[in-house]
Structures are given as C-alpha cells and as structure tokens.
Symmetry: C2
Subunit: 433 residues, 2 copies
C-alpha cells in the first residue's frame, strides 16, 4: 500500500479552493489523524488559464474529467463542481471505478442521493456528503452517530444563510425585504438571482436530506412543502416583536407513528426557542429526540473554509475506513416506507393578520367563526388603523389541525366584515407572558 492518499477534485471554486487550502495548511494534523499524507493529485476545471486567488501549479489542473475519474492512482474524488446532471455522471463513473466520493452538492443528493448510495454500496465505496447541509455544522454525523441510539421525532432547521440574513436585517434594522436582499447581494450572501434561496428551494433540498437521515426513510424532494420569504413584511416582524415572536425561515420535519411531514416556511418562533437566537447568515439545526430531548447544532452554513472543513471531515472518515478496510459499510439504508401526513394529521399554531371593518359586532363575527371551527386563541392584538375606518387584528391560535386552519383562512376571506387577510404564518414554541 502506498503511504499516502490521492485526491482528485472536481471543481476549484469557493469550496474547492478551501479544500486545497485546508489540505495544505493542516497537512501535519491530517497525517496525525489518518496516519498518512493526503495529497491533491489533479483538479478538473473549466479553464486552466483562469486567474485564481489560490496558488496552485497549472500541472495539477485539467479540463478533462477522465484524468480525474480514470486515474488509477486517485483514491478519493471530491465533487465540488455543483449542478446536477454532470455531477451525477461524474460520481457514478467515480464509484464504478471504485473511488470513494465526497460531495458538497445538496441539489444532487436531494434529487439522487438514494440512487448514488446504492451505487456506492455495490462498489464497496464510501459516499459522504456532510457539507451538503449547513456547511460547517457537523449535523449529519451528529444525527447518524452522536444521536444514533435515539429516535428522532422532530427536526427544525435554519438551513439557508441568505434568508436568515435578510430576516435578521428586516427584524433588527427595520429594513424592507428589498433593501435587505440588496444588502445581502452586495455582501455576497445572496446571488444575483436569489430565487432558490428566498423561495425556500435550497432549504427544501437540505430538509429532504436531513429528514431521510433522521427518519430512516426515503423522503423525496417533492414531498417537501415549500414557501419562501419574499412576501414577508416588516409590519409582521414588528407585530412579532410585540407578541414575543421572531420570524425565521424554518425547515420542519416531524414524524408521529411513522407518518411524516416535511416543509419549509416562514415561521414565527417564540423568543425562548433556541433557534430564535440564530442570527445573520448562521445556520442551526434543532433536533428533538425521544430520549435526548432538545439539542441544537449551530454554525456557519456556507463559506469557503467552513464548507471545506465538512468536506475534509468526510475525507478523514474515508481515509480511516480505507486504512481499516471497511469502506462502504457506514451507509444508513432506509428502513421504513415513507407515509406522508394528511392535513388533518398535521397540527400547529397559527398567526393571522387581518383588516377588519371597524364596526360594532365585527370582532364577534371573527370569534364565532373560530369558535365554530373549534380553534381557540393564544394571543390577540387589535390596533385601529388611521385610514378607511379599519382595525388591524392579529390572532395567534392554540394548536389546531392544518385542515382547520386552512378552513379558517378560507372562511375569513369570505366574511364581509373582513376587508383583507394580510398574512398567515405558522407559529412554534411557547410564549411566556
């Protein structure tokens, strides 16, 4: 056996450069951990001549994927090229050539994770993807090893840094959504086209990956119900402050009696909830286990070096397995059929903001509507509006089924005294008076 491990990189962007930098700077620590040197042998790039921040000899670079994927000297392929189809083909080719694979690609794993894991097992290869969820936060190992003996019941995640940054700025500095988004773009926290982030699609991919691992079942991306933050207004955040609530884009994954729900939606959290204190671009995953109770994993969700740390933790795990001769054995195969909850099985608290005609008996029409649906109130806030003889009403309900809350929403919209239902959000946690 040669006394070093060779790595082939697919991609040399933000994360790829971080990986090269970590291997260079932490070589001595790596040797101590895995007992041998870890070397980068070749790197697939689109343009060898391109100016790069990172210093690396051109001889390492290639535009031909086969020079990485077919090189018998390369033990581990690190995929940080992004995108879905090309990355998928590269990874399948790598696994078929008996190379272990580490990837940071959440889109790919969310869509094709189960297929790729099967391929990895068939070839006695490791396929690890710690960096695909919450960047530097070691949440996947936390779930599959740290909490291995427990039964996870509920998982809530702030797994998108862009939207958390925007909501923090709206909440703390009173910025509008548009201004906060612009600021995030200027700082490089949001892309020119922010759709995948602000509409919750990026978070949905991570939640699918997390839910699979937590519940041992094959959650598909389309099982995740998604709504984004582009309609969230500063007014709602201000009301939240009065009610002891903080708005976050939360990925939810719950399981009861082997029936599950997975969603991503703007959610009001009680200020006492551990996730309510997670600010700016930080990520965190809150895990509720039957035995352990409440735990939370917090850290940077993106960035070159944090994400590279997660990639390298996977590389270290692969090399340890190589030296022990046990690759391809730590994959957790799904063991349950996934059964999704129906709306009458999904329970939660809800926040409604509505404009009401400011006339005698108007409010009692609202209360009788909620009474009839058997929905009780946790908090109510009424403010007169200067214009149009309207009152603004905020209602926070106790826990009700999603079916009831949807019915309430429809009936409120039909009620003549209700001028408009301005907004409707989920609420999590207990507000102490």
């Amino acid at each position: 056996m040669k006394n070093y491990v060779s790595i082939g990189l697919l991609g040399l962007g933000t994360v790829g450069s971080g990986v090269v930098q970590l291997i260079k700077n932490h070589q001595e620590d790596l040797i101590h951990q895995v007992g041998c040197e870890v070397r980068v042998k070749s790197i697939l790039v689109r343009d060898v001549e391109k100016d790069r921040d990172i210093q690396i000899g051109q001889t390492y670079l290639t535009t031909d994927a086969n020079e990485v994927l077919q090189d018998p000297e390369i033990d581990i392929v690190v995929e940080v090229i992004g995108g879905v189809e090309e990355a998928r083909e590269h990874i399948i080719q790598a696994l078929e050539a008996k190379k272990h694979v580490v990837t940071a690609n959440k889109d790919l794993i969310a869509l094709h994770g189960p297929e790729l894991q099967k391929k990895a097992i068939e070839n006695n290869c490791d396929l690890f993807f710690e960096a695909s969820v919450a960047g530097g936060v070691p949440i996947l190992r936390g779930l599959s090893e740290g909490l291995s003996s427990d039964r996870i019941q509920k998982l809530m995640g702030i797994v998108n840094g862009t939207t958390n940054y925007i909501l923090t700025k709206m909440d703390e500095d009173g910025l509008s959504y548009e201004t906060a988004l612009k600021e995030a773009q200027d700082l490089g926290f949001a892309e020119a086209d922010p759709t995948a982030d602000v509409e919750g699609l990026d978070a949905a991919r991570k939640m699918a990956i997390l839910a699979r691992l937590a519940f041992h079942t094959n959650v598909e991306l389309e099982d995740v119900e998604v709504s984004g933050i582009s309609n969230v207004s500063v007014e709602d955040l201000n009301y939240g402050q009065k009610l002891g609530l903080k708005m976050k884009l939360i990925g939810h994954a719950h399981i009861d009696n082997q029936q599950l729900e997975v969603s991503v939606q703007p959610t009001f959290l009680a200020k006492s909830h551990p996730l309510a204190a997670v600010k700016n671009e930080y990520n965190a995953v809150y895990v509720n286990g039957e035995a352990v109770g409440e735990t939370m994993f917090y850290g940077p969700g993106a960035g070159s070096l944090p994400t590279a740390t997660a990639v390298m933790a996977d590389v270290v795990a692969v090399v340890k397995n190589m030296r022990l001769g046990v690759n391809g054995k730590s994959v957790v195969a799904p063991r349950f059929e996934r059964v999704l909850k129906t709306p009458d099985q999904r329970f939660g608290k809800h926040y409604f903001r509505l404009h009401l005609q400011d006339e005698v008996g108007a409010f009692s029409k609202i209360t009788s509507l909620f009474n009839e649906l058997d929905i009780s109130f946790e908090q109510i806030l009424q403010t007169p509006l200067s214009k149009d003889e309207l009152a603004e009403i905020i209602i926070v309900t106790h826990r009700v089924s999603m079916e009831s809350s949807q019915k309430a929403l429809m009936e409120l919209r039909d009620l003549p005294v209700v001028k408009e239902v301005i907004s409707h959000y989920s609420v999590e946690g207990d507000v102490k008076k």
Copy 2:
C-alpha cells in the same frame, strides 16, 4: 461469532436505568444500526432487594463485581457507578479482560483518562466517554470527527446545568443566589451539598476532558483555574442587563502558538454571543475553529435518558467497531507537550464594580490609574448611591493582559478614594450599541 452483543452494567442509578430502558425500547432500531441484538447480561448493584422504578428481573442483578468483570460472555462493560477509585479498578480489570468500556464518569476521566486510554490501546479495546461531558450533547464526537480536519483555537462551554439554572433564575426572576439554589435543589437540579457544582469543580473536570480532545494535549485537572458562582449577586446581573451582558459560568479553553489556558469562571457574555441564549439547566459548547469559524453544540447536560443516549451512542460505536474488527484504534493520542500561558500572555476584557467617594476629582484618579496601566475603557456606568455619599462605578475594559488587570485590581484596592471593589469578572464578546 455469536449473533448478539452482551453488556454488563456497573451501577443501576439514574443513568444505568436510562441505559436499560433505551436498550429495551429501542432494540429494533439498535438491531438495524449494528446488525445484531444488544442484550444486558448482568448488572452490579449495591443491594439486590432495593425497590427500583425500573422493572428488571432480580436474576440480572449481582453484588459481586466479578460476575460482570470476569464473565467471558460479556463484551462491553458500561460503567455508571460513579466515584473514582472503585470505578478505576473496575475499568482496568475490564480492559485487562479484553472488554470494551463505555463510561459516563467525568471525575474518573478527568483524573485518570490518559492512563485508562493507554490501557485500552494495549488491550485493543475501545474506551469511550461521550456521556462524561454535557450529557446528551454529542460534543466529543463533534470535536473528534465532525471537526476532525480543523484546528480548534477556542472552546467555551456552559457545561454545568445546576449553575446555569441558578444564574438564569437570578437574571430573569431576580432571585437571590440562595433562593435560586434552594429552588434548584427542590427541583433535583442541585444536590444537597452543591459545592462541586457551584464552585465550578464539576465544570473544571469537563473542561479538562474537552481541552485534551480539542488541543491534542494532556491537560491535567489542576491546570484548570476555577472560580464558582457563590459570590455572584443580583446587582451585578442587573448592571449586566444595562450594559448588554449576560452572566454565565463559562469554561474557557484557548490555545495560541501551542500555549494554552483553561479556566472556569463566572463571565459576562455580550448578549449577541450564541452562549448567552442558553438558559436554565441546558448545556452548550461553543467551538471556534481556524477554518470553520463559530459553531455551537446545545442540549441537555444531564438526566437519565439524555445521558443514556450518549452512553448508547458509544455502545453503538463499540459494536460497529467489533463487527468491523477495528476496536482500540479510534483513540486520539495526545501529540503536543502542554504549555500553559503565563498571566502576561492571557488577554481578555474585564468588568469592575466599585464604590467611590463621591467627591471632586475622585473619578479622574480612577481614570489616571487605568491610563498608567495602559487599560482603556469600553463602557462606563456611574450611579449615585443614596447612602454614605458614595457613587457606584462600573467599568468594562477593552482587551488587556491578565497581568495588567490583576495590577489594576490591586491598585484600585489601595486607592484612598475607592471605598471598596465590590466585584470583578471577565467579559467575552462585543457589545453592539
């Protein structure tokens, strides 16, 4: 190979009962994870006849340690008996009989961890102790696997639930130290003799274990500088609120240029610090890595089932290693000589509260004292006291060496205009105005 793994338990108290319960309730999940049944074979107790909350047949119980330690059928010994000497002898005997050991015993590991790890390696046995720090929080695996490729620079922990509960109650409900302690005792969060908790000794043991793992060096328990919370007053907590600071009992472990400091002390945290939001009996460990930046692991620090979850995660790891034939290989041996920082190499911000004669020029004597020591102020708060023509002054300094802050403290005490230095605490984090 027999198709199940046998466990011998030393102790059937809070944690032991949790372990028995988890093995019973999660048997199916365990089988799926490790590929075979996990059975409790025998349990060492002091009194077989004692009434217990947990249902377990008397045939499992024994008062003879050798029935666990010498039974060739037992593969893994789980030590949850507590105490130091007896537990140490049992564990050595178990390792010499080639049994893997899982322990929740922080006192033992803090004092004899390195010796026991050596013994484990000699016998090709695993020795795991996840449950010894922060109960259900998988922090040891987080450090040694999740952040394996990074270089940890700083670690701050709320690793004692009792003191965190007391400080939370003092801060939020304005209770005195004595009343809050009484409440904690009534709720079972504090022991009848609370010394080990409130004086920081329990936290010091955990910090020694964490610092060893994070910095790859043999930190000894006596390297940890300790002060407790029994002198913390509600007045200081109230001033903290005005200054944007929260008091926590913080275990600190820093390393710069291979020189380290480890301490446990009541510390004012900026409210924006992730640890500042950790309330009641919860624990959390904040880890700052060179590449990953800020991460935090949060969860229950004690309790039967949370701690049992950590014990069982270790058992799962041992069984996986057994099936792969790789036990005794995942121990991280220390690789650096430990060098402790001297006081002039330790830097931090400081909070001073003092009573000053309310006379012309008094305050300028304070400022010139600090000027001469080259200490600048971050925040100052002056309040007249109704009695004795005194003023109460709070000073928060910028970062200075511990040597300078100690000198300032001594000189303040000697200054005739200073009636009394009431309190002095460390401060961490940036307070934003």
